[in-house]
Symmetry: D2
Subunit: 132 residues, 4 copies
């Protein structure tokens, strides 16, 4: 599946890290990136900022998709990532699920796994919803 | 100033977003990136993942610099970013200060400002320190 | 069910707010408190610190139960609470589930609900595990 | 100094843990509690929920004081606590400083110290500001 055509511009950082959307439904968004040197930190592990960036991209885009027809914009308000286990190769796989769809904020939980389904990181994203 | 030559490899994501170290002392690390389309999200604002990535890079590198001669590694454990005001152009400027230098964790506060010194984001990073 | 007899002392703050354990298994801990004026803030809503305190008590106690026979102690390292909907009466119901059981840290997700099963708060707790 | 007479009711949890306001200015709020068994967890340390509760009380009250004359209410939106060093006796001392005073959210940094001025915890609070 192609990425949500949500905005006028492209997702610069998403494109830069090779973010690929796999599935987008109201209850779940799946996306992934392939691990290359571009997303590794100096010790060879996937850079923690990559997990945060993936969560930020997919939660903001999915919130925007759901609210923009009502004239609302969606913008990250907080991004809290906890790192549990490094990923060094294969893919960084992300699943985001909405936990709260409020009038002014949406809250998402994102699970990051490696290709053996082991949890690498957990991210809780709050996305602000505001009139354009 | 060049970036800390901390590890065998380069900082893939740091390089990708153009991270430039300005100053590194035990009490403070300053770094920045120039805003280009590569770090913008679809609405034209700097992508929230960029703030998280900068914090992750500089806090991990600075912790590593301080502990690696004792045979320790440094690795992000949590990265909590709060977004306050968008940046759309100029630079993303970061200052990181250590708040706690423990035996097993270091805690850093990172302030992100725009070129007019307005706070754009606050990040609290916990870096785990472990034997190599 | 009585609370985990984990330590030499009682759980002062847990007792103060009337924390009652309902069920403790390796996969899930359930607990609750009754809403009284003691746990309300000035506007009549349950005080946000109560949600954080419940999560702290049950995750620390449950981690301790699992690791103390190996000579380890458990101690809160971070407690990240997101508040979604106020509770004003009835009970504050908590379910905690472990998301990561590492050698040095355990990570828990806690859901707080009101008596109509609506989510009031989400808390992510990291508990440090260290030799006594 | 007495606590902010902010609302119609009392601060139940604040009163329960003995919260005492020392100083309230637009730039800083100082408060403390005395350590008793009521605020200890089973191992004898001050309960992590106490730090979160103090931060929640003082940041919400101080935000309310600043915005209520404009017909706005203040309500905790997130409370992120990082624990650095246990307190076992004396006082839990808190200083809260506003980092952002936005139209819809205020962000506060709270430092918790023991009586020897050592940092015990750092809390970042986001308080939502909404029309009553």
């Amino acid at each position: 599946m192609s990425k949500p055509r949500a905005h006028t511009g492209g997702d610069g950082l998403g494109d830069l890290i090779g973010l690929e959307y796999l599935d987008t439904s109201p209850e779940e968004v799946r996306a992934r990136i392939a691990v290359t040197d571009d997303v590794r930190q100096p010790a060879g592990l996937v850079h923690g900022g990559v997990y945060a960036a993936i969560a930020e991209s997919i939660c903001s885009a999915a919130t925007w998709l759901a609210v923009h027809e009502d004239g609302m914009a969606a913008m990250g308000q907080s991004n809290n990532a906890t790192f549990l286990r490094p990923i060094t190769e294969g893919h960084v796989n992300a699943v985001a699920r909405p936990r709260h769809r409020g009038r002014t904020t949406w809250v998402w939980d994102v699970e990051i796994t490696d290709d053996r389904d082991r949890i690498a990181a957990l991210i809780r994203m709050t996305v602000a919803v505001r009139p354009v």
